[in-house]
């Protein structure tokens, strides 16, 4: 046995708490920390804060316009290959795939675990989005490829306006009981300031983040 057993470990913790101290109760809610309320214009707040975090946001009316926008971005990026979403619930998935092929852009083999490492773009849906922080919430599961939003230099996320929750507090309750193995809040393109606090964009994650907001 290299470490301790659970029992041994917890016994020691319990012993350290022989004098727990005057009881401090856990507050029932954390509303005092709330920044954004549900009666605010969530889409507007989300867009403003995402842009502040250097995420490019494009608002479109419907799925058709979304597809147009994706193509526009792919062309502007001069992408030659892209990861496309595998989930069937992805908005207008078939239309999007067809249009991408029409552009002559290669559809990466999403069954290849290495595919994301050579793709120019990754296109994904999101589980939710947070207005307070301008974040998109990307969960695993349903066959989603985690690396499609990570290993690529440019990431395009499709967000529906209804998916936007006001505040981080609401994000935590939106997780529900059935957690995915991974959930990531993406709140900006990858960056570092580890060298002399000089900002460099695009370290390991995408250098460019786009969000297309439907509705």
């Amino acid at each position: 046995m290299l470490g301790e057993t659970r029992g041994q470990f917890l016994t020691r913790v319990r012993k350290a708490l022989t004098h727990r101290g005057k009881p401090v109760d856990l507050p029932a809610d954390v509303e005092i920390a709330r920044v954004i309320r549900s009666d605010e214009d969530l889409a507007q707040v989300f867009m403003t804060r995402a842009e502040e975090a250097k995420i490019h946001v494009y608002r479109v009316a419907d799925e058709d316009a979304m597809v147009d926008k994706v193509i526009e971005l792919l062309v502007a990026t001069r992408a030659t290959s892209t990861m496309v979403p595998v989930v069937e619930t992805f908005p207008a998935r078939d239309r999007l795939v067809t249009r991408i092929q029409e552009q002559g852009i290669v559809l990466c083999d999403t069954d290849d675990p290495e595919a994301s490492f050579s793709a120019d773009v990754g296109i994904t849906d999101v589980r939710a989005a947070i207005a307070e922080t301008g974040s998109m919430c990307i969960a695993s599961g349903g066959g989603r490829r985690r690396l499609a939003s990570l290993a690529v230099p440019c990431h395009i996320a499709i967000v529906r306006a209804e998916q936007i929750v006001p505040d981080l507090i609401d994000w935590t309750s939106s997780l529900g009981n059935d957690l995915a193995a991974s959930e990531v809040l993406v709140s900006g393109p990858s960056k570092t300031a580890d060298i002399e606090l000089l900002l460099v964009m695009g370290v390991h994650g995408p250098k460019v983040e786009h969000v297309i907001l439907i509705g």
Partner: protein, 486 residues
């Protein structure tokens, strides 16, 4: 309590000498001054967005206080939930045990190459050394930590560990270690690191991370990064090992939102870090990618000792570095002078507790008690008060110099008596201040020489206030009578 592994030489810090060197290191002074102030200013600008930042900080402190006093219960809940999610939990009392556990996981899973995200506790236990000694290939993937791994140096700051290095220094380092052409351009240097690390991510067998928070309610591990290395470490390799100190537990998901609102704002002034990852166990059967095995290593390493002590509230620390950025001493001497994984104000308290009070007795004394740390701390840790308590502890253990012990005995006698205080002051003034020129001493002797080594010391006023009062009072009374007559 001895530090480190058995057979290691007893470590003797050399704080005063290192501080003296640091103080005269112009580059170091300028760098730390600039970097700490920038992050401190960022914090002040970002926090007001929370409406009532003080109330939110008090809430965070309360959540942590409650958690710490019920830590056994919340750890149990965490362990149960991690296991429900398919994770395996390991328990390490000491750093040696933790290193052995991780090495064993690597062996059992046939893992040869490891990619590692930032983890302060792994620095504490010197995990990299242990893994390398076991013949494993470990690479730090946080850029700052990667630089330090190549230069074989220790971190100088909790959040931005390599700011003591110039870009020229990094350029030379990369040219030597990576074989690239010399450049001092941060973009090019980062790109070079990216190329190396990307290849490592792609082929590593095992990923390692620390934990910013561990949510008991769900068994979730939360890590925050800006680079994306944490995501790679926790998504790509087939084995994932997360290390955490016991104090990282928080009760509920909603509590996580409070800490996330405070953490990066307090650290650098960012609203959020670029990536906030929740690790909820290994991959599910229908997941395409993700680790097949998830191991959580929970480490004590003297934290239970802190839990049982009067310094329990230091375990509230969320490792944001705000106290470092606010601290005038840290700003002046930089992180390496502390010779500890944890520098700055929080380090002054926890280093003696995690290691040995006698060895690090200089740390709790190396503070002006200016309260900047307390003002900055998102978890409202009362560092100044605890520094005083730790000094009292040292005094009780007989660790204070005899001169101070005797000095304060005399001080107490003197200050306990109006007569002694008044006449003691007079005596001092009539004898010592004879040597003052134009009201100033250029040179004092004994321990007081430390003062005049740096600056002049004033002479006492010729007539102290207590001798002037009678006259002043009489004047006030006369004035009052005069005014009433008007």
């Amino acid at each position: 309590m001895s530090a480190g592994r058995a057979g290691q030489r007893e470590f003797k810090p050399d704080f005063k000498r290192k501080a003296a060197l640091a103080v005269h290191d112009k580059h170091l002074r300028e760098t730390f001054d600039r970097c700490t102030r920038r992050q401190d200013v960022g914090r002040r600008a970002a926090l007001p967005e929370l409406g009532d930042p003080l109330a939110v900080r008090n809430l965070a402190a309360r959540i942590k206080n409650h958690t710490l006093q019920n830590l056994d219960r919340y750890l149990e809940q965490l362990i149960d939930n991690v296991e429900k999610l398919g994770g395996q939990v390991h328990f390490a009392e000491t750093g040696e045990q933790a290193c052995a556990i991780v090495t064993d996981i690597a062996r059992r899973t046939g893992s040869k190459s490891i990619v590692k995200g930032k983890s302060m506790v792994s620095e504490e236990i010197e995990l990299d050394d242990a893994l390398e000694a076991a013949g494993l290939d470990v690479v730090e993937t946080d850029l700052g930590e990667y630089i330090l791994q190549l230069s074989r140096e220790k971190p100088c700051h909790i959040v931005t560990p390599a700011i003591h290095m110039t870009k020229e220094g990094v350029g030379r380092l990369f040219a030597e270690k990576l074989g690239i052409d010399y450049t001092n351009d941060p973009e090019s240097l980062t790109a070079a690191a990216r190329t190396v690390l990307r290849e490592k991510f792609q082929h590593a067998d095992m990923g390692m991370t620390g934990a910013n928070f561990a949510v008991a309610e769900t068994g979730s591990i939360c890590i925050v990064t800006n680079e994306g290395n944490g995501r790679f470490c926790s998504s790509r390799p087939r084995v994932l090992v997360t290390m955490m100190g016991i104090e990282k537990v928080i009760p509920r998901m909603k509590d996580l939102s409070v800490f996330l609102k405070l953490l990066s704002k307090s650290a650098t002034g960012q609203r959020m870090t670029c990536y906030t990852s929740l690790i909820n166990g290994p991959k599910r059967p229908d997941d395409f990618d993700g680790p097949e095995e998830f191991h959580l290593v929970i480490i004590d390493k003297n934290r239970t000792k802190i839990l049982a002590s009067d310094y329990r509230e230091t375990l509230r620390c969320i490792r944001c570095g705000a106290c470092l950025n606010a601290c005038p001493v840290y700003r002046t001497i930089g992180g390496h002078t502390y010779e500890s994984v944890y520098p700055g104000p929080i380090g002054k308290l926890i280093t003696p507790m995690l290691r040995c009070l006698e060895t690090y007795e200089h740390l709790p004394q190396a503070s002006t008690l200016c309260h900047a740390c307390f003002e900055a701390c998102p978890a409202r840790i009362d560092t100044p008060r605890m520094l005083i308590e730790m000094r009292y502890e040292l005094r009780k253990r007989g660790r204070m110099p005899w001169l101070y012990r005797i000095g304060f005995k005399f001080w107490r006698i003197g200050m306990n008596s109006k007569f002694l205080y008044h006449w003691g002051a007079k005596f001092y003034h009539w004898s010592m201040d004879l040597f003052a020129r134009e009201g100033w001493h250029r040179r004092l002797f004994g321990p007081a020489a430390e003062w005049t080594n740096q600056r002049d010391f004033p002479a006492l006023a010729d007539r102290p206030f207590h001798d002037r009062w009678a006259k002043l009072e009489a004047e006030l009374d006369a004035m009052e009578r005069q005014t009433k007559e008007k």
